[in-house]
């Protein structure tokens, strides 16, 4: 193990850029918008993260991976705070993150289309662009997809089934 120079916050942010989401490995945790703050006090690094969905099993893995990445640089005194409020929203996802998602085959969130608040039953599906053929002739198969953060869509033109990262705000 290398013995590290005193950490700077800028350096910690750089290292966090290298920690990826275990469920969507193309995204860094910074793209996802779950790192809310970094504070360095002497030797101690405090990282504040916010969960995407309450039961997301990736959160434990992410906390571990942050520790491991910092440990690899010799930073052993790491505290991870889990902050619930303000609640995570897809508005915090970076544009780079959205582009990477689409290139990876997952439709990025369409802003301003969160389901919940109005509870319009059998309301019109959000128009989501197919990440493969870019057609907007798509339909919702299920609001609940392969992970808590995604819905299941299918393209009516190229027929590809795909994941849609739900707008959540």
């Amino acid at each position: 193990m290398v013995t590290a120079a005193a950490p700077t916050e800028a350096r910690v942010w750089q290292l966090l850029e290298e920690v990826s989401d275990p469920e969507v490995p193309v995204l860094s945790i910074l793209d996802l918008g779950i790192v809310r703050g970094v504070k360095v006090t002497g030797e101690q690094i405090a990282v504040t993260i916010t969960p995407t969905y309450s039961g997301c099993p990736a959160m434990n893995v992410i906390a571990t991976e942050i520790r491991l990445r910092l440990l690899a640089e010799g930073y052993q005194n790491v505290v991870i705070h889990n902050q619930l409020s303000p609640a995570w929203t897809t508005d915090w996802m970076s544009q780079a993150g959205r582009d990477k998602l689409e290139a990876y085959g997952i439709a990025p969130p369409v802003d301003g289309t969160a389901t919940g608040h109005m509870l319009n039953l059998f309301g019109k599906d959000t128009a989501v662009r197919c990440p493969v053929c870019k057609s907007t002739h798509t339909h919702l198969v299920s609001q609940f997809g392969s992970t808590a953060c995604k819905a299941h869509y299918q393209c009516d033109d190229c027929l590809e089934p795909f994941d849609y990262f739900k707008c959540h705000n």
Binding site: S54, C56, Q83, S85, T115, L119, L121, S142, F144
Partner: protein, 266 residues
């Protein structure tokens, strides 16, 4: 269950109320955990793959919410018990969930109606709690209400599909109503703990909550072409520890590992 504990901001609730807050937060935790467990029993048995996934997703959301409450409850109690101790090492009489959520899954219509009755309460309660004076409860509610909105939309749409579907789906929904309606009333019947918290403004008045819930129920049942059931006798007991026989069987499965290998960690 080994994630970092949430950073708990200082509560703005008077110290005298924290005695009441602990059992209430535990009640919320137990409610979400027991329903999450029931829904997880569907995993691999759903009528179609998409709905199997939906049930598992909802179970996971509720499990995550339960963890937040248990962590907070452990902190409020301050006796060194952890979230795991609270979930795995309490007996049925110590559980504080309403009777509704421990009822067996039955068929899909039965599960849907149980979910609808719960979601309608849960969503409307969280909307109030997120603006409440207890900052930690408000933070958990702010997070969970977004998820509860998806759940309520899903169960409401399924009540409509089943009610306004085929003769068979309607028959099954009617049967579920006949069996489960009596358990709905407990959700909005305050216990002594809840009344005490309502008096100091930590909890909303359930009469106002009930009006919002009834408006939604009336809308969904009209769409489902199902006559609104008459107000039923409310079967109470779960929130004060008097449970149906089903909870013991559920806990014996849920707590099996910790009871068999005390102190087990992953």
């Amino acid at each position: 269950m080994s994630a970092p504990l949430p950073e708990t901001p200082a509560t703005s609730v008077p110290a005298a109320a924290s005695n009441q807050l602990f059992p209430f937060v535990l009640q919320l935790a137990d409610t979400s955990l027991i329903l999450a467990h029931r829904l997880s029993e569907w995993c691999g048995h759903g009528p179609v793959l998409e709905q199997d996934l939906a049930l598992a997703n909802i179970a996971l959301d509720l499990l995550g919410e339960a963890r937040s409450y248990y962590q907070y409850a452990a902190e409020l109690e301050g006796q060194g018990r952890t979230e795991d101790d609270l979930a795995y090492l309490r007996s049925a009489v110590e559980y504080r969930n309403p009777l509704l959520v421990e009822q067996p899954n039955g068929d899909f219509a039965h599960t849907i109606l149980r979910q609808f009755l719960f979601d309608n309460f849960h969503y409307h309660l969280l909307r109030k709690l997120k603006d409440g004076p207890d900052t930690q409860l408000a933070a958990i509610a702010e997070k969970s209400v977004k998820e509860a909105a998806y759940h309520l939309k899903w169960s409401s749409e399924w009540v409509i599909r089943l009610g306004d579907g085929t003769d068979e789906s309607r028959k099954r929904l009617d049967k579920a109503i006949a069996t489960l309606w009596r358990f709905g009333g407990e959700l909005t019947t305050p216990t002594a703990t809840e009344t005490a918290l309502q008096e100091i403004g930590v909890l909303p008045d359930y009469a106002a909550l009930l009006a919002e819930m009834q408006a939604h129920t009336a809308h969904v049942f009209a769409e489902a072409t199902v006559p609104l059931p008459a107000p039923a006798f409310a079967q109470l007991g779960g929130k004060t520890g008097r449970h149906t026989e089903h909870l013991g069987y559920l806990l014996s499965e849920l707590q099996y590992m910790q009871r068999t290998y005390p102190g087990l960690t992953w």
